[in-house]
Symmetry: C2
Subunit: 327 residues, 2 copies
C-alpha cells in the first residue's frame, strides 16, 4: 500500500492543501481562501470538505494508497499544544486549538501535527530534500520575514515552549534597522526580501545613484527579483545589495554555527533565485566570522524543495516524520 | 551498592581528580600538575596512579561503593571521538586520543567519556544542580573566557562534529573589541572576567574618573572581584561596569533564546559572586531584546554548582549521565 500524507499550509490569504507521497511529489492539491471572518468552526468545515475531496481523488488515482496523517504549517503554530497562538496575519484571535478541532473531523487519522512554516521547511528538507541522512542542520527561510528551523540529533528543536528557531530575530547590528517585530537591528530587517529593498534604497541615497536601474522604481514597486535582474545587467548598486545581504547573513549564520555546529545550513526562498550572487558573499562572510575550529566545515546549500509547493510539501513531511517516529 | 564516578578536570596548570557520589558530593580528591613536557604517555601514567589511589581510599571509606565510570573535562575535548584537539593551553600537541589511552589502563570501566568544561558544567547542572528535571536549558560559564553548554530534549548538543556550544563567540558588537580567539566583537570580549576589566578601563578613560576606586589599580592588577568590591562601596564606575556587562550579556542571551527557547539559562563563574549586581541588568536587557512570545518566560538563574569543585563535579556528571543512558 502506497503511503501518502496530507499537507496543509495556512497563509494569511490562502490555505493550500495537498496530498503528497513519500518522495515529496504533490499528487493532487487545492486552494481555499483563509477566511477573514474569524469564525474558526466555519473554516474547519471548509477545510474538512477540501481534505475529503482530495482524499477521494487520490483514491481514484491509486486505489491502494493509505493516508498516514495530516501535517499543518501555520504562523505562530505550537507543535506541543497543537495550537495557533495570536497569529497577527490570521483572523482567528487568541489561542486556537487547531489540531483538536480538526481531529474531531478525522478521528481515525493516526497522525495530526502542526508547526510553523520554517519548521515545516526544515522537516521537508530532512524527509525529501538535501538534508536526507543529516542529523544536525538548520534551514533559514528568506521571504517577507526570515524564519528558521533547527534539527539537532535528528529531531526538530521546539524548545521548552514550542517556539524555538526564531533565528531571524537574532541581533545583527545594535541600534540598527527597525524590525517587523518591533525590535531593532535583527537579521530579518537586513536579509529578508524587504530587507534587501531597504538596503537598495540606502545605497541609492548613499551614492546619489541616479544612473542605477533601481532609481527608476518607487519604494513600493521594488522587489528582490528586480534587484537580481538589475544585478545581472551589471548594475553596481544592485550588485552591492547582494554583497551586503550576504555579508550580513553570513555574520548571522556564524552565530548559529557557534551555537549548534550544524553539518549544513540550507537557504530557502525567493532571494535564492539569485544563486551565487547571494550564496558566495554569504559563505565568504560566514567563514570570516567563524572560530577556527568551524572553518571550511559547515556547508551552505540552497534548499532542494521547490519554491512553489514547498509549504504543502513541508507540512506533509511533518506528518511522515511523526508517523515514522511512531514505529 | 553506592554508585560513585570519577571526575577529572584537566586545566592548563593542574589536573584535579575526584570521586563523586550521585548527589554531587566530592568524597575524596587529588591534584596533580598538568605537565609541560608534552609527553602524553607519562601523563597518563601519573593520572592512572592518582585514580587508583583515589579508588582505594573510597573503598576504605565505604566498602560497598561501585565506580560506574570516568568523566573528563578538558579544553578542546571532543565527546564523539574521545580526543583533545589542538588545545592551545596544553603541552600535548595535535590530536590526542585521550579516552583510548586511558581505557588501556582501565579496560573494565563501563563508562569513559570526555567533553569540554562548559559542557561538563551543563551536565553537572542537569545531574546535580538547578537544572534537574529540565529538558531544555543552557549554561554560560563566565571566567577567563565565556563558555556554554546547551541541552535540548534532555541531551547535550554536540553538533555534527562535537564542538557545538561556543556561544561565547557570538557577535555582540560588529567592529568591536578584539576577542581572545582573534575574532572581533564577540560576547567573550565583553562579558568574561577580563571583559569586565576592559569595560572598567574604557569607562575610566571616558569619564577621566580620577576619583574612582578603580583608578588606583594598574591594568594588570584589576580583577572582577575588585570591581565588585568597589561597586559595593558605591563606586559609580564599578557599578556601571556591572550595568554594561549585564546589558551586553542580556543582548547575547536573547540571541540564544531566539535560537533555542530554553526553559532557563544558568550563569556560572567568578563574576556571579556579585549576585544581583550582574543578574538584574542581565535579566532586564534580555527581556528588552526578546520577541514578545518569549518575554517573562525564560529564567536566568545562578548555577547551583559550587565554584570550587564544579569542574570535577561536572566531569563526574558526564560519567553518571552516560551510565544512566545505557540503561
Amino acid at each position: 500500500m502506497k503511503k501518502v500524507a496530507i499537507g496543509i499550509d495556512i497563509g494569511g490569504t490562502n490555505t493550500a492543501i495537498g496530498v503528497v507521497n513519500r518522495e515529496g511529489d504533490v499528487l493532487v492539491d487545492q486552494c481555499i481562501p483563509t477566511p477573514k471572518h474569524g469564525n474558526i468552526d466555519l473554516y474547519i468545515q471548509d477545510l474538512t470538505l477540501s481534505i475529503r475531496e482530495l482524499m477521494k481523488s487520490v483514491k481514484l488515482l491509486n486505489e491502494k494508497s493509505e493516508v498516514i496523517g495530516i501535517g499543518i504549517g501555520a504562523p505562530n503554530a505550537n507543535y506541543y499544544t497543537g495550537t495557533i497562538e495570536h497569529a497577527p496575519n490570521l483572523s482567528f484571535k487568541g489561542i486556537v486549538h487547531f489540531v483538536d478541532l480538526l481531529k474531531i473531523q478525522f478521528p481515525d487519522m493516526k497522525v495530526m501535527a502542526i508547526t510553523n512554516d520554517a519548521n515545516a521547511a526544515a522537516i521537508g528538507e530532512m524527509i525529501y530534500g538535501g538534508a536526507r541522512g543529516m542529523r544536525n542542520f538548520v534551514v533559514f527561510t528568506l521571504g517577507t520575514g526570515v524564519g528558521s528551523g533547527i534539527v539537532v540529533n535528528g529531531d526538530l528543536v521546539y524548545g521548552h515552549d514550542g517556539f524555538a528557531g526564531e533565528c531571524g530575530h537574532m541581533m545583527l547590528i545594535p541600534d540598527g534597522r527597525v524590525c517587523g517585530c518591533g525590535g531593532v537591528g535583527h537579521l530579518e530587517a537586513y536579509c529578508s526580501a524587504p530587507g534587501m529593498k531597504r538596503t537598495a534604497f540606502e545605497l541609492l541615497a548613499k551614492y546619489h545613484a541616479t544612473d542605477s536601474l533601481l532609481a527608476s522604481r518607487c519604494y513600493n514597486e521594488l522587489d528582490s527579483k528586480f534587484i537580481y535582474e538589475a544585478a545581472l545587467k551589471g548594475d553596481k548598486v544592485a550588485q552591492e545589495v547582494f554583497a551586503l545581504t550576504g555579508k550580513w547573513l553570513g555574520q548571522g549564520l556564524a552565530d548559529t554555527v557557534h551555537h549548534l555546529s550544524p553539518e549544513a545550513i540550507f537557504l530557502f526562498g525567493g532571494p535564492l533565485a539569485a544563486g551565487d550572487y547571494i550564496l558566495n558573499p554569504t559563505k565568504e562572510s560566514m567563514e570570516q566570522h567563524l572560530l577556527p575550529v568551524f572553518k571550511n566545515k559547515i556547508k551552505i546549500l540552497p534548499s532542494k524543495l521547490k519554491l512553489g509547493d514547498a509549504a504543502i510539501v513541508g507540512a506533509s513531511a511533518l506528518a511522515f516524520n511523526e508517523f515514522e517516529k511512531m514505529k
